[in-house]
Every structure is written in C-alpha cells, then in structure tokens.
C-alpha cells in the first residue's frame, strides 16, 4: 500500500498574499444556500426523473400548478422564476405524459389554463411525500427555536434577494458606493 495521498503534497501555493481578502466560497452565504438546495434537488430529481420522466422544469411547473390549478403560463413564470419558453415546453411535456391538461371553459382563450390530471395528482402526491420527508429530515437537524428563527430569516433574505435581482449587479455595486443605503 502506502499510496501517496497527494491531497496536500507538491503545491506551488501562491495563496496567502492574494487570496486573503478575496471571497471564501465556503463561507459565502449564497453558496451555502445553493449547496443545500442543490443536493436536495439532486435527490429529488433522481426520484421523479426516472420514475415519471419529468425534467426539472416540468417538476417545478407541476408543483406550481398543483398549488394553483387553472393558472396561466405567465403566472407560472412569475411564481417560479422560470422563463415562458421552458414553461411552455414543460406544460407540453406534462400534457404528453398525461399528467396535466389544458382546461376548457375559459373566457379568454389566450390563456393556457393548466391543471393536473388524476395521474398528475397521483404523481405529485408521491413526489410531495418524498419532499416532505426530506424537509422533515432537514428540520430534524435543527432545534425548534432555530426552525422559527430560520423562517423569519429566510423571509428577510428572500425580500433582500428579490431587491438585488431587481436592481442587478450594477445596482448592488452602486449601493455600496453610496454607503450601503438604497439609492
């Protein structure tokens, strides 16, 4: 045996001087959030992908439609941060798979008006179960007090991130230039 681990050998480490003041990925809040949600998305995708033939966009669309049956494409976009093209394609996929249907009886026929079919509710239910199990397992890792705090914190961060998105990177850098207060 005695294999050289290599993990830390033979580096031409030029850090320290330059890396110090720079971004530390591991402690950067958005990255920490990303990692957690990406892992969960992977696990969930490994379930609904093979089992129902759903793409990620289709699942997201399905979840939104489940919460608000009869919703239009545009509303789905707003609710899920998706663009209208993916949503349109996701809906087509859902309809082809027999998981959703376009609703009749609309007065304004420009609107898509999507709702889940029985099979769609069935599939959604199964994915929901797994989702809630994951949620439960995550929640189990923190204390009740932390759960409550987290809820409030995420609400604030959600607002803040929406503001950042709305203003774009230019706005963020400007805001700092002006002392951190909104301009």
């Amino acid at each position: 045996m005695q294999i050289k681990s290599n993990q830390s050998t033979d580096r031409a480490d030029s850090q320290g001087s330059k890396g110090g003041e720079n971004l530390q990925l591991e402690s950067w809040l958005p990255y920490r959030l990303f990692r957690i949600s990406a892992r969960v998305a992977d696990v969930l995708g490994a379930f609904y992908g093979p089992k129902f033939g759903l793409s990620r966009a289709s699942w997201r669309t399905m979840a939104i439609v489940a919460n608000r049956p009869g919703i239009s494409v545009k509303e789905i976009c707003q609710a899920g941060g998706l663009d209208q093209f993916s949503v349109s394609r996701a809906i087509r996929q859902l309809v082809e798979l027999g998981l959703a249907q376009r609703q009749p009886g609309r007065s304004d026929k420009r609107y898509a008006a999507i709702a889940l079919s029985d099979a769609g509710w069935q599939a959604f239910g199964e994915i929901s179960d797994l989702s809630r199990n994951i949620d439960a397992e995550l929640m189990r890792s923190v204390t009740p007090q932390e759960r409550e705090a987290l809820d409030a914190i995420l609400a604030k961060l959600d607002d803040a991130s929406a503001g950042i998105l709305a203003r774009g990177w230019h706005g963020v850098n400007e805001a700092v230039g002006s002392g951190g207060r909104p301009v």
Copy 2:
C-alpha cells in the same frame, strides 16, 4: 382601459380537496433556499458572463481554485459538487481565456494542478467584490443575532443535506418508515 386582470378570474379551481395535504412550494425549505441562491446566481452571472466570458461552471471552478491554488480536478469536484467533465472543460475554458494555467513542477503528472494567472486573480477580485457586496446586502437585511443563528443553522442543514444526498431518495423514504431514525 379596464383590462380584465385575469390573474384570478375564471378558474376551475379543483384544489382544496386534493392540494391540502400536499406540498406547498412556497413554504418548502429547499425551495426557499433555492430561490434566494438562484437570484443571486443570476445577478452574479449577469456580471461575470458578459464581462469575462465565463460560464457558470467556470466561475465556480475559478472560485475553488482561487481558494486552493494547485488543486487537482478531482479535488475541485469534491469541493464544488461538480462532475469531472464539467471541471475539465471549465479549466480548459479558463486556460483559453488566459485566466488560469496548469502548474509545472508537479511530481505526479497525472494531476492537473491548476492555479489562477494574474489576469485570473484580477477577474476573480472583481467578481469577489460584487459577491461580497451581495453578501453584505443580504446580511444587512437580518439582525446580528439572526446572522449568528443562521450560521449555526446552515452548518447543521449542510450536514443533514449531505447525509440525504449520500443515502438517496430511497434512504430518505426508508428512514421515515422506520420512525425517522437513521437505519
């Protein structure tokens, strides 16, 4: 004027009966985390994409390399949750853009051994600045106590999500079946 808002009209709402016990996206923890990090990623991507010609994977790779110069492909994968193909391609892109270079003087020549070039450090610095501004703006939206709590909570959630990923969806559903304790 008087355009029908459509936002809430004319629904064949079949919810309530079926949607009640099911997943509510808006309050599902992983989705809440996802939304925040996705918005931030969008804003950041709108900066480094046009400005430096970086793809998302290249930026992530760059950030990891910046933190640990001389790192190998495999280590980058582990550190960033990326697969070895994207990392390999990201490195090629970084090298082509003149932002990174393969380091000479390695004893084991199987390892890639990547580090940023001067131009790479420059670019990384600029993206870092924006990243830290975003972070600051997010942090500004919560109280100091919340910041501290959040740090502890995310550490726990990170561990929990790693465990979920390692066991996969099958493991999650099983764990619930056995009463929520690890098997």
